[in-house]
Point group: C2
Chain length 127, copies 2
Amino acid sequence: MQTLSKNQQIVFDLINKSTEPMKAYSILHNVQKKGIKAPLQVYRALDKLVEIGKIHKIESRNAFIACHNSSCQVSKATAFSICEICEKVTEISSASLSKYLTNFKDKDGMKYSKYNLEFFGLCKKCR
Amino acid sequence: MQTLSKNQQIVFDLINKSTEPMKAYSILHNVQKKGIKAPLQVYRALDKLVEIGKIHKIESRNAFIACHNSSCQVSKATAFSICEICEKVTEISSASLSKYLTNFKDKDGMKYSKYNLEFFGLCKKCR
DNA sequence: TACATAGTGTTATATTATAACAATTTAAAT
DNA sequence: ATTTAAATTGTTATAATATAACACTATGTA
């Protein structure tokens, strides 16, 4: 468990307490009172947090959420469900899914070191 | 099989003959000689082409490739492999993979109407 | 101490994408 | 054929997302 730098901690705390994915400039607005003034400071913290698996990027939304999956392989194997109405995003932690995808081989027998999966649909509330 | 409008056809032809994913502004530069002058003209064509499943967006790369998977469910179920060195992207057409993911239910028994999966690794050439 | 590595602060700029409005084309339905 | 609705186009401006480049500071470690 690596210790975070000042900016990394500030950005992580904000994302971690958010109930929804946060976008970079929304993060910026929220941390300006903590002394982080420029986009690059946010992006650098985000890059590092993604790298060490504390947060994940939801690629289809350009937004970031904290990792709540303790067994997550340092952001090498991620899966999310996304509600197309309310935009609620949930990290999926299914052992069988991650096993299936981690072991998946393509036609040429090639295995991959990393994957990201995004499911779309309507959440319970929105159906 | 829907007929494409003029701009849609121009954009599709370009992407379709490209051997690699194309980014929106690269597309724009390439079609300016055909009379498409503004980003929005490109983005509108891209939106439509994605909607009808003729192309897919590689979300992690903000780039677009033609669909070469005849059985692809109109862009409702997409899977790609991405080489992290040469950035070669290939659409995966595996019946067992699409079956597994299409039928995947989360903890609450919820099924999803759509998914996008991106695998990362090194392609044959780059290993 | 010296050195390497990681992190910070700052300005400027690149890249990706959409808003808003007016006009035109297309397809279908009278 | 004429009307009508839907889709597409053209255009300018601007929003949103992300990185380059440079100087400096902090941290860990040999």
